[in-house]
């Protein structure tokens, strides 16, 4: 079958051209004479070629001498030793575009990992419980997948953040498959189960309200951390590095959106934003709590999660009540004035 389809229309071609030109434009701008990039490994240089940076880096000469203040000039660029190569999909595919418009008839867009990355990261992920989110796990995983030990070097920065992101991505997408198990015969145990650490099948009544479903889904996602929770503090430290913060926050936002969608929330007013923001904060706090939780089956984490969700529900109810009161009284005042003949 011939190739991608969707350029046969002129509008599609124009938009596709615009979409595809963005990485070319960026590499073009990066190739223009700007500051000299410092000597680095090839993986980092290709990653850097996508950012537009024009800071002048201090060399030995400038730092040792006391130069008077001068206007910045462009230094001579280093000769180009390689041409920009196509980047792995982790870098080229912006997250925002992946998320637009979920279609029920058409298959979803491809995930953020290429098939080669998927093979490597899934094999390395099996090694994480023992070795943590480290280069060791990646090397052993590469060996398990039948690749060379050096293969993870093709991932940006050695692939450690890629491994963390693999964990976040696979656990998030696995929630959709577990929905019946979580809600149906089990599930979260409603609001009165005391022992939260048992397995999911508890034989309780199926969950009906959105709030209960949200709690059940968040708890299921926390349970999925069980294998790697010992290494999760280290992973959080890596995620907190400035270059990884946007991607980490994006994954958190996608998780909150997924949980609320699977729980059946269909509101599309400003509460869409407030619900996702508060659920993201609650989940992040619960996950952090989980890293120090030693209780059997993370019972304390479950209680923590329930307390935070209750607080959020109470705060939401309070704000809603105050808003309703204000709107009602404003409308009543306007109507009273109208009934008195004021022309408003």
């Amino acid at each position: 079958m011939p190739a991608p389809t969707l350029y046969s229309s002129a509008a599609g071609a124009a938009t596709a051209r615009r979409v595809l030109l963005r990485p070319l434009r960026r590499t073009l701008l990066a190739g223009l004479p700007t500051a000299a990039p410092p000597l680095q490994s090839s993986a980092n240089t290709t990653a850097r070629s996508l950012t537009i940076s024009s800071t002048v880096r201090p060399t030995a000469a400038t730092t040792t001498q006391q130069r008077p203040l001068q206007p910045r000039r462009r230094p001579q660029p280093l000769p180009q030793t390689h041409s920009p190569t196509p980047q792995p999909a982790l870098l080229t595919q912006p997250a925002a575009r992946r998320r637009a418009y979920h279609s029920h008839d058409h298959p979803p867009p491809p995930g953020p990992f290429t098939p080669a990355e998927q093979a490597l990261l899934s094999a390395a992920y099996a090694r994480v419980p023992q070795h943590g989110f480290t280069a060791e796990a990646l090397a052993l995983g590469a060996r398990d997948a039948g690749l060379l030990d050096i293969s993870p070097a093709v991932l940006p920065d050695g692939g450690v953040f890629g491994l963390i992101r693999w964990h976040l991505y696979t656990q998030r997408t696995a929630l959709a498959g577990k929905v019946e198990e979580i809600f149906g015969s089990s599930g979260g145990g409603g609001r009165d189960g005391g022992d939260g650490g048992e397995a999911l099948g508890k034989g309780q009544a199926p969950l009906t309200t959105v709030a209960d479903k949200v709690e059940a889904l968040a708890w299921a996602r926390l349970q999925a951390n069980e294998a790697i929770v010992g290494h999760w503090q280290e992973a959080l430290a890596i995620m907190a590095q400035p270059s990884y913060v946007p991607a980490s926050l994006k994954e958190l936002a996608l998780l909150a959106d997924e949980i609320l969608y699977l729980a059946g929330d269909v509101s599309v007013d400003p509460s869409w934003y407030t619900k996702r923001a508060s659920l993201s904060a609650i989940y992040a706090a619960a996950e952090l709590f989980q890293t120090t939780d030693q209780s059997p089956g993370f019972r304390e984490t479950r209680a923590f999660l329930r307390r935070r969700l209750d607080e959020a529900a109470q705060a939401g109810a309070t704000v809603r009540s105050v808003g309703e009161w204000l709107i009602f009284n404003a409308g009543a005042a306007v109507n009273v004035l109208r009934s008195k003949g004021v022309r408003i």
Binding site: P2, P4, S8, A10, A11, A13, P110
Partner: protein, 279 residues
């Protein structure tokens, strides 16, 4: 019913005047999207080695852009993350972002329309009670449109507009102001908003028809999802243009100063549409 071109249209018998002209423009318009204008760097009088190299690099990339479609396909394959089979069926990311921004701006527009009618009705009807059935009919149609788009936004997991409270306040303010001014001003506001909305929906239907035609030309079966979406947009566009006709029947053109009122409101609508597509 079918018109001569084989397009299935809704019942257009009730559209008159401007409404009919705007609809006809959809069926006959064959403009295609133009290439983005290319800009070239001017040659400096005494280019250094670096500037000349940069110039050659830039010209090389522009030539690359001007190459025909297979080059873009090659570039896409380099960045491809799926097999051919998956990629053929999945919608292109640019099309997905078009669909999501289209649904977002439509929901915002219908929200604004319902709030305009809600705010306009009391002052207008206080002066002219015989307009109550008309205002109620138009309000109920807009409320139905809003429910439709809210359901679509939730179903397709589209992010609603972040400026929802701002649009609510502005729409209520606009409706109340024009309602208090006069009945003609209220009708002129409706005329301006519905003209912009009609053209906006026309553009969306046109783009969706192009997308569907592109898929069908490649031999793929376009599912009900997009056909239903196009039919829904057509129906809603026709109802909006019906409102336009009602507004003109009720002396929208007699508002003073008509050009200023409609100019400001139409410019505001275009700005709000542009912002809602993005934010």
């Amino acid at each position: 019913m079918d018109d001569g071109d084989g397009n299935v249209t809704g019942d257009r018998g009730r559209l008159r005047g401007e409404g009919r002209r705007l609809v006809a423009s959809l069926e006959s318009d064959t403009t295609t999207a133009a290439l983005p204008a290319q800009s070239r760097r001017t040659h400096t009088p005494a280019p250094s080695l670096n500037d000349r190299t940069a110039l050659i690099v830039i010209i090389f990339f522009f030539l690359l852009l001007l190459l025909p479609k297979p080059t873009t396909r090659i570039a896409n394959r380099l960045l491809a993350t799926t097999t051919d089979a998956e990629e053929e069926k999945a919608a292109h990311p640019a099309q997905r972002s078009f669909l999501s921004s289209a649904l977002r701006v439509n929901q915002a527009g219908e929200l604004a329309a319902t709030l305009i009618y809600t705010a306009q009705t009391p002052p207008v009807v206080a002066r002219e009670p015989h307009l109550r059935p008309l205002m109620r009919h138009m309000y109920e149609q807009e409320a139905g449109h809003l429910r439709t788009f809210e359901a679509l936004v939730a179903r397709h997991r589209v992010r609603p507009t972040a400026l929802y409270p701002l649009w609510s306040a502005l729409a209520a303010g606009l409706g109340w102001t024009t309602g208090v001014m006069s009945r003609e001003a209220a009708m002129a506001c409706t005329e301006a908003v519905e003209t912009e909305i009609g053209g906006h929906y026309n553009g969306q239907i046109r783009t969706l028809l192009e997308m569907v035609a592109g898929w069908e030309a490649e031999g793929y079966d376009v599912g009900d999802e997009f056909r239903d979406l196009i039919a829904t947009l057509r129906r809603i566009r026709d109802e909006e243009l019906e409102h336009l006709d009602h507004a003109i029947e009720h002396d929208a053109k007699k508002a003073q100063p008509h050009w200023l009122l409609t100019g400001i409101i139409r410019a505001g609508c275009r700005g709000a549409i542009w912002v809602s597509e993005r934010v």
